[in-house]
Symmetry: C2
Subunit: 250 residues, 2 copies
Amino acid sequence: MNQTIQTLLGLSVCLNALFISLGVWIILKRGGLSYLATRVPLLRKLGIKSTQGSPFNFPYYDHRKSQLSLLPVNASNIIFLGDSITDEGEWAELLNNPAIRNRGISSDTTIGVLDRLQDIIAPRPQKIFLMIGVNDLSNLGRSPADVVQTHKEILTQIREQSPQTNVFIQSVLPIHPSLFLGFVTNSNIQTLNEQLQRLANEFSYPYINLHAHFLGAHHQLDAQYTSDGIHLNGIAYQRWAKLIEPHVLP
Amino acid sequence: MNQTIQTLLGLSVCLNALFISLGVWIILKRGGLSYLATRVPLLRKLGIKSTQGSPFNFPYYDHRKSQLSLLPVNASNIIFLGDSITDEGEWAELLNNPAIRNRGISSDTTIGVLDRLQDIIAPRPQKIFLMIGVNDLSNLGRSPADVVQTHKEILTQIREQSPQTNVFIQSVLPIHPSLFLGFVTNSNIQTLNEQLQRLANEFSYPYINLHAHFLGAHHQLDAQYTSDGIHLNGIAYQRWAKLIEPHVLP
């Protein structure tokens, strides 16, 4: 009997060791502690932060950044700059305008946008439609005030280096919390948007309140627009295009 | 002593149960057995197949399919049709041609393309650049012969419903096995391409052997083109665009 229990204990402990090793292996493969910090808010509160501007989508981010860096921008271009929500829109088609350039990259943050801003503003494009910040909140655990600080650096560089460019600051969109698996609240998004609107006024850039147009019940992203609580389907992109069309046209 | 071992056994078994529950929860969350079949070749050999055409990228696939279904195609358009490798290319920019429409969807298969073909061919576009099949091999565990059978259905529908459309059948690209986490071999890709070339001849559509231009050592995808062994960076897209440019121009 004692022998049997000891054997069972041995097996059970081995199985646990196997499970733990598997877990550690998966986490290491995805980027170790810095990856974990993007998934576990507690770690971020303990001061462990992701070292990457865009911790999630590693190969995709690198590939797309490298592709975009080789594609020229010119002074007649209208740039759509942001994260996945911008990236996933076929803007030139949605707005029937071949001058439009999609410069969204899935998983990007204000830090990532600041980092790749030079390629975009050096050719002094006509307009920039900017929507960025939800991944700062969700993936990097930054506060709205911190995020707006990086927005301010982005706008300062644009104003200084390309004063003719008109920047349309689009509000961050709401999420649908029960569908979305990330770490961000609609109340944080609301705070970010209020501060973004003040920042836009400060720079005399137009602020576009898209947020209000995508709300459903309980001040959440309307479920008709999304399958995962944050990204958008075709109806949402049609609506968005309609809302900004007057600003895209000269 | 006996008491201690029994307590330890109890704890260890509870931990076992916890880990197993966690694993089951994660798998169920991602789509259950059908998801597992996309990751474990053995299950596919046992006849458990994914019920989805595109088992991986659920919310993204739905969102993009819905967006594309609302964007019109016309007879002057040049369609890029395929999976992530097509989806991730900014083709209108790469080829400096506003008639180009990107109809790639990340994670798509020949089955998915067949399913959404009507929207694309009903308006009888000028040209279609097709690259599809690697996810059939990798995610659905289909054989090259099976995949080419679905290719044949795609080409038959195009030929019947839009005989003026010229279809450029692009070879599937090689992978870099030590960087790629999916289940596909370069030898299977090679077999698929040989059969695709025969199919192209059968239909008198041009076959474009991109595969040969992306090979590095050991007949693998050249590591200079990729961070994850299957998707492409900017240098690769520049090269691809250069190779097909003569076919895109009228």
